[in-house]
Symmetry: C2
Subunit: 212 residues, 2 copies
């Protein structure tokens, strides 16, 4: 899938949802699904689904619909979840712990290989069987293990410096939980997680339904 034509980001952002739904169907032993059934389940139009999947060559067959397992596997390949990307967590606080224990990390094909923290009292501990290293060991670890993805659960004022270091050491992508729109001097993909956005969406929905 390398260096293909640019797929609109809105389409890319819908793929994980397709992947989740198809995974659920697969677990429920659904073998095939029409684009209209898929559209109803996912609350997107059937033509939207066809358009989205046509970005990748399309996977449906007229009059048959989609083979669930095939489509699941193909979307998985597009998403790169078949690559077993080697992943590290930086910041062994509560959120770092929660993510290390997050079963979807492994289930989605990401292999957690190390956790880092500046707090020496945490060095040598294990979280969900993964070792916690001191931050001073990061460079050597990066050189030896060549992790692909770093998950940052750091205080906001430390995140940029750490991310620059990771960029210099060759990380391929960053999943950033520190509240900031992280920008660094290396051209690598960064996904900033803004948890409070969905809380505010909820708040909006409560607000318009409520009389105060």
């Amino acid at each position: 899938m390398q260096n293909e034509k640019q797929v609109p980001i809105a389409v890319v952002k819908r793929l994980p949802r397709y992947f989740r739904y198809l995974g659920e169907m697969l677990r429920n032993n659904v073998e095939r699904i029409s684009s209209s059934d898929l559209s109803e389940k996912m609350n997107v139009t059937a033509s939207q689904i066809r358009q989205d999947l046509n970005n990748f060559g399309g996977f449906g067959q007229q009059g048959y619909g989609y083979n669930v397992e095939h489509l699941y596997n193909e979307i998985g390949k597009i998403l790169g979840v078949d690559k077993g990307f080697k992943t590290i967590i930086i910041g062994a606080g509560n959120l770092g712990h929660a993510i290390a224990n997050y079963s979807n990390l492994q289930k989605r094909g990401f292999t957690l290989i190390g956790i880092f923290d500046v707090d020496k009292s945490k060095t040598g501990q294990k979280i969900n069987d993964i070792s916690v290293f001191h931050m001073s060991e990061l460079e050597q670890f990066m050189n030896n293990e060549k992790p692909d993805i770093a998950i940052l659960t750091l205080p906001k004022d430390e995140v940029t410096e750490v991310a620059e270091t990771l960029g210099r050491l060759g990380i391929k992508g960053i999943w950033n939980f520190s509240y900031s729109d992280l920008k660094i001097s290396y051209d690598i993909p960064i996904e900033n997680v803004h948890l409070s956005d969905s809380l505010m969406t909820l708040s909006y929905r409560i607000n318009i339904n409520t009389t105060f």
Copy 2:
């Protein structure tokens, strides 16, 4: 803002981002901004911004742009973050701890008033100064304190039952971190957080840039 015309969900989902950006500008003492500067900063078209804000009556002035503080406050009101919604967390595990310590919760105007867990050894503890109660105390607490929002950080197989109980006891909205598209018999807003979606988006972006 109660019961106004339905605003498209895509617009609603952009509001928290406007709110974040405007908050940042406010902290940097920016007084006013043109829709084209705002659009450049946010990477949306200026006409998109005008259209979005027109859903709420529009806040700009021809030739002046937007007053940052006014727009920030107005969007805050639309989002309901000025209401100080009373919030509880159910599940005092790592994620529950992380969210209780998440400074944006208070900063965005949500007031955490209690944390619940089935584990008796946690009862009476405090997390970020908020008391942990046993689940058996939930009904009485709901009746006395009338919380608006419940944040669920529970195992997947417990979440539906707890959410039904919350619905029965009058909760106004649910922020669900348990991996499932939660559906219950009460007609209240639910926001399901799918953390792994953004990790898969990152994975996609790494994948298309990488030759294996």
